[in-house]
C-alpha cells in the first residue's frame, strides 16, 4: 500500500511540478535557516569545562555605590577590588580560590629571527591551574609560596611555547615578557576553553585564547598593564591597589551545595563587616553564581545571535503556514478524485494516509534540502570574523535534530490539509461533477 501511495504522490507532484519545487524550497529554506542558528546557539551555550563547571562559582560583591542612572541590563558586575580579592584569597574559605586579571605583554624572543610581538594572557594566583583542571603537557603550575614571593615564573600555552621554543623542551628556560625574564615552569596542552569563561565576558569571549599565565602579585609588583576593564568611583585617583577600583576576577571551587550556601553567608558577613568600616554603601546583596548561570547572566551569547535565531524561527513559521495553505488548496482541488476513492470503498484513514504520505515526502525532501542549506549557513557563519565563527560546526545531535525538525515540519504541514481533505463529503462532490 505504501508503495502505491508513494506512486500516487509522485504523480501528484508531476502534475504541479513548479508548486512542489516551491514548497520543498520554502520548507528547506526555513529549516536551513533555523538549524543554522540553533546550531550556532547550541555550540555557544555549551559547557566550557565539562565535569568541573558544577563546582565553580563566581562570588559577586559590589563595593561601589549605586549609580544614579540605572542600567536596564541585568548583567551583574563581578569585578573586585584588590583589597577584597586579597581578603577572600587569604581567608581561603572555599576548597580552592583564585584571583585573576587579563594582560597583554610584549614577548621578546631570544632568537634574533623573531621580532618582539604582543601576546595576551592572564595574571592569576596558584589555585587557578588545579581549580580549572588545566591540562599540562609538561611541568606544573606554581605554589602559594611563589605567589607570596612574587616569583618570576610563567606557564605557557602550547601556541606560544611552540613559537618560542619549537619542539625542544622548554621547562626551566627563560622568556622575556615586557622587561623581565620569567622561568617557564609549565606548558599547557593547548588549553582553550570556549568561551574563555574566567575572563570578563565581552565580544572577545570566544576565539581569544590566553598564551601565558604568570603570578598576579608579580604582575602587580612589575606594574604590568591590565588589558581588561577597570572602573573606579569616588575620588583619590585610579589606583590599582585602592579599595575603590574594581578590575579583578575571582573564582572559587565549592564541591557541595552546602558549602556554596556557607560561602554565600561568608560573603554576606564580609559585606556587613565592611559596612561598619564605611565601605559597601549598597544594601547587602552578596551573590554566588555557578559557572553556567554566570555565562548566561553575562550574555555570553550576544543578543544579535538570539535575534537571528528568532528571525529564522519566524521565517520557518511563515514557510510552514505557506505550505499548509498550499497543500490544503492542492488536496481540496482533488476533492473529486478523493470522493471517487471514498465511494469505491476507501476508508477515511486510507485517504488520510495517502495524503499524509504525500505531505511527508515534501517535508522529508525539504528537510534534506534544509540540511544542505544549514551546512551552507554554518559555512557562512564560519566566514564571519567573530571569535565564535570556528565553533559553528554541526554535531550528531544537531544532525538528528534537523531531521526531526524536518519530519515534524512535514507532518505538521500535512496533517491539517490531509485531515480536512479526507473529510469531504463524497456524495456532494460526486454530484457536482
Amino acid at each position: 500500500m505504501f508503495r502505491y501511495y508513494l506512486l500516487l504522490a509522485i504523480y501528484s507532484f508531476r502534475r504541479s511540478r513548479m508548486l512542489t519545487v516551491l514548497m520543498i524550497l520554502a520548507i528547506g529554506l526555513g529549516i536551513g535557516a533555523s538549524m543554522t542558528m540553533i546550531t550556532v546557539l547550541h555550540v555557544m551555550s555549551g559547557d566550557p569545562l565539562p565535569g568541573r563547571s558544577a563546582q565553580l562559582y563566581v562570588p559577586v560583591i559590589n563595593p561601589d555605590p549605586v549609580s544614579s542612572s540605572k542600567p536596564k541590563d541585568t548583567a551583574v558586575d563581578g569585578a573586585m577590588t584588590w583589597p577584597d580579592a586579597m581578603y577572600l584569597l587569604h581567608a581561603a574559605r572555599a576548597d580552592r580560590q583564585a584571583a585573576m586579571a587579563p594582560g597583554a605583554l610584549p614577548v621578546r624572543p631570544a632568537q634574533a629571527s623573531l621580532r618582539p610581538f604582543f601576546e595576551s594572557g592572564h595574571y592569576v594566583t596558584a589555585d587557578f591551574f588545579p581549580m580549572f583542571g588545566t591540562p599540562f603537557r609538561a611541568g606544573s603550575g606554581w605554589t602559594t609560596q611563589d605567589d607570596d614571593s612574587h616569583a618570576r615564573v610563567v606557564v605557557l600555552n602550547a601556541g606560544l611555547n611552540r613559537k618560542l621554543f619549537g619542539d625542544s623542551p622548554s621547562i626551566g628556560r627563560s622568556v622575556r615578557l615586557k622587561n623581565t625574564d620569567f622561568r617557564v615552569i609549565g606548558v599547557l596542552d593547548d588549553w582553550q576553553p570556549q568561551p574563555t569563561f574566567y575572563a570578563q565576558i565581552n565580544s572577545g569571549a570566544f576565539g581569544n585564547t590566553d598564551q601565558f599565565f604568570l603570578p598576579l602579585a608579580t604582575a602587580q609588583e612589575l606594574d604590568f598593564d591590565i588589558a581588561g576593564r577597570m572602573s573606579c568611583w569616588g575620588s583619590g585617583g585610579d589606583a590599582r591597589l585602592s579599595d575603590h577600583c574594581t578590575w579583578l576576577q575571582f573564582w572559587v571551587e565549592l564541591d557541595s551545595p552546602a558549602k556554596a550556601r556557607a560561602y554565600r553567608d561568608f560573603l554576606a558577613g564580609y559585606w556587613r563587616d565592611q559596612q561598619t568600616h564605611g565601605r559597601f554603601p549598597r544594601h547587602e546583596n552578596a551573590q554566588l553564581f555557578g559557572l553556567m548561570d554566570w555565562l548566561s547572566n553575562q550574555h555570553v551569547v550576544p543578543g544579535d545571535l538570539r535575534l537571528q535565531l528568532w528571525l529564522a524561527l519566524g521565517f520557518l513559521g511563515v514557510c510552514m503556514l505557506n505550505i499548509v495553505g498550499l497543500l490544503l488548496a492542492k488536496f481540496l482541488r482533488r476533492s473529486g478524485e478523493i470522493s471517487v476513492r471514498r465511494a469505491l470503498g476507501a476508508r477515511r484513514r486510507d485517504v488520510f494516509l495517502q495524503l499524509g504520505i504525500e505531505a511527508g515526502a515534501i517535508g522529508l525532501a525539504g528537510g534534506a534540502l534544509g540540511l544542505g542549506l544549514a551546512e551552507l549557513g554554518l559555512w557562512s557563519v564560519r566566514q564571519r570574523p567573530d571569535g565564535y565563527a570556528h565553533l559553528a560546526q554541526m554535531d550528531i545531535s544537531m544532525l538528528l535534530g534537523t531531521f526531526l525538525l524536518a519530519i515534524i515540519a512535514g507532518v505538521c504541514a500535512g496533517v491539517i490539509p490531509a485531515w480536512r481533505a479526507c473529510n469531504v463529503t463524497p456524495a456532494l462532490q460526486l454530484k457536482t461533477q
Binding site: L19, L22, A26, L29, A33, S67, S68, K72, P106, R108, R115, P116, F117, F118, K178, N179, S203, D223, D225, W233, G234, S235, G236, G237, D238, A239, R240, P302, G303, D304, L307, Q308, L311, A312, G314, F315, G317, V318, C319, L321, N322, V324, G325, L326, L328, A329, K330, L332, R333, R384, P385, D386, I416, R420, Q433
Partner: protein, 404 residues
C-alpha cells in the same frame, strides 16, 4: 464590485483563506520590525565620528626600552613622521573613535558632587585637533602652556593638573542645558577643569548607549605611556603610501619597538562595525525571504483557485461577465485577504515590537513602518495575483458547456 458574493465564496474556503491571512499578517509583523531594525542599524553605521575620516591613518607603537622616555620618544617620532612627503600634520594620541581605548570619567559639576554624565577623555600632543580635523564651533583651541603630561604611570594624575578642556556639543548641552558652556568648570576627578572650547562631534572609542555616544572631553595632556597611537593626516590618495613610509620611518628612528594596527581610519571604522554590517545583511535577507515566500504563497493559492473555479468562471463568462469582471474579481479577493492580513499584521507588529522593547531595548515602532509595510504587502499581493487572475480572465465561456 459587489462584495457579498465575494465574501460568500471565501467562506467556502475558510481554512485556506485564514491560513493566507495569518501568513500575510505574520510576514507584515516581522518585516515591519525588521525594516525598523535595519534603519536603526544603518543610522548607527553612519554616525559622524567628528574626525576627517578619509584623510587619517594611524599606527600603534610600543617602546620596549627598559628606561624609555616616552615624551622625548614621541617628539622624535612625530618629527620623523612629519618629514614624510604628503603628511599634513601628525599627533600622538591615547584614544581614537572606534579604537576601543576608552578612558571614561564621571563628570561632576561641583567637587565630590554627583556624576552628571560619563565622558571619554581624549588626550594628545598639541597638533591633535588639527590632525583629527575636529571642528571647533565655539571658543578656542589649547594654548602651548596649558599642556601637562598625562601621568600614565602615576594613576593618570594629569587629570588633577590639567587646567582646561574642550568638550563636544552633546556633552556641553547635557551638562549645561541652555547655557553658555565656555568658562564653566567641570570635575572629571577632584580638581576643576575649565571649558574653553566646544567641538561639533567626537565619537567615543567604544559603543555606549546611543545618546551618550558623543560625550567626549579633549584634554591638553601629553600621552606618556610606552604605548601610543600616532595619527597622520594626509590626502586620501596618499594614505597607503604614507602608512608604509610611516612604519619604515618609525623603525628607522628606533628599532626596539612593536608596531601594530597600521591602518587607515576607514579600516578602523569598518572593523568596528563588521558585526553590524553582517546583521544588516541578514536582516535584509530575512525580510526579502519572507516577502518572496509570501508572494509565492499568494500566487500559488490563487492559481489553485483559478484551476478549481474554471467551470464557474466559464459559467459567469457565459452569462455575460466580461474578462475585466473576472480579473477584478480575483484582484478584489486578493485585496480583501491581504487587507485583513495587514490589518492583523499591524497589531502583531506592535506586539512584536513590545517584546523587542523588553528584550533588546528597541525603541517604539513609528506608525510609518506598519503603514509602508501594509502598502508594500498589498502591492506585492496584487502583483502575485496578477498572473493567475489574467489566466482566469482568459477562460473562454465555452468551458461552461463542458462536463469537467
Amino acid at each position: 464590485m459587489p462584495l457579498p458574493p465575494l465574501v460568500a465564496s471565501l467562506t467556502r474556503h475558510k481554512l485556506t483563506a485564514l491560513l493566507l491571512v495569518l501568513q500575510v499578517s505574520l510576514t507584515c509583523a516581522i518585516v515591519c520590525n525588521v525594516a525598523f531594525m535595519i534603519v536603526e542599524r544603518v543610522q548607527l553605521l553612519r554616525q559622524p565620528s567628528g574626525v576627517a575620516e578619509n584623510e587619517l591613518v594611524s599606527i600603534d607603537s610600543t617602546d620596549l626600552d627598559d628606561n624609555a622616555q616616552p615624551l622625548v620618544r614621541h617628539d622624535t617620532d612625530l618629527a620623523a613622521l612629519r618629514a614624510i612627503a604628503g603628511v599634513k600634520s601628525a599627533a600622538a594620541v591615547d584614544a581614537l573613535p572606534f579604537n576601543h581605548h576608552d578612558w571614561t570619567n564621571g563628570i561632576a559639576l561641583v567637587q565630590d558632587g554627583p556624576t552628571r554624565a560619563t565622558a571619554t577623555a581624549f588626550n594628545g600632543t598639541p597638533d591633535e585637533l588639527a590632525t583629527l580635523g575636529l571642528h571647533l564651533v565655539e571658543g578656542r583651541s589649547f594654548l602651548p602652556n596649558e599642556y601637562v603630561p598625562l601621568g600614565s604611570s602615576h594613576d593618570w594624575s594629569g587629570i588633577d593638573q590639567v587646567p582646561v578642556t574642550i568638550v563636544t556639543r552633546a556633552l556641553a548641552e547635557k551638562l549645561f542645558p541652555g547655557q553658555d558652556p565656555l568658562g564653566k568648570a567641570i570635575y572629571p576627578d577632584e580638581k576643576p577643569v575649565r571649558i574653553v572650547g566646544v567641538i561639533n562631534h567626537l565619537l567615543r572609542p567604544q559603543a555606549h548607549e546611543s545618546a551618550d555616544n558623543d560625550y567626549a572631553t579633549v584634554f591638553p595632556m601629553l600621552p606618556d605611556a610606552n604605548s601610543v597611537t600616532y595619527v597622520l593626516r594626509t590626502a586620501p590618495q596618499d594614505r597607503s603610501r604614507v602608512l608604509k613610509q610611516a612604519t619604515e620611518a618609525l623603525d628607522r628612528v628606533h628599532g626596539n619597538r612593536i608596531l601594530r594596527h597600521a591602518q587607515t581610519f576607514e579600516q578602523l571604522r569598518a572593523d568596528f562595525f563588521h558585526r553590524n554590517r553582517t546583521m544588516i545583511a541578514l536582516l535584509i535577507a530575512a525580510a526579502m525571504g519572507l516577502l518572496i515566500v509570501t508572494a509565492l504563497g499568494i500566487a500559488g493559492l490563487a492559481s489553485f483557485w483559478v484551476q478549481q473555479r474554471r467551470r464557474s468562471i466559464g459559467i459567469r463568462r457565459a452569462v455575460g461577465a466580461t474578462r475585466r469582471d473576472i480579473l477584478r474579481y480575483f484582484q478584489w479577493e486578493n485585496f480583501l485577504i491581504v487587507g485583513t492580513g495587514v490589518a492583523l499584521g499591524a497589531v502583531l507588529a506592535y506586539g512584536l515590537n513590545m517584546l523587542l522593547m523588553q528584550q533588546y531595548e528597541q525603541p517604539r515602532l513609528p506608525m510609518l513602518y506598519p503603514a509602508i509595510g501594509a502598502f508594500a504587502l498589498w502591492l506585492l499581493g496584487q502583483l502575485a495575483v496578477l498572473g493567475p487572475a489574467l489566466r482566469a480572465a482568459s477562460v473562454p465561456p465555452v468551458v461552461a458547456t463542458r462536463t469537467t
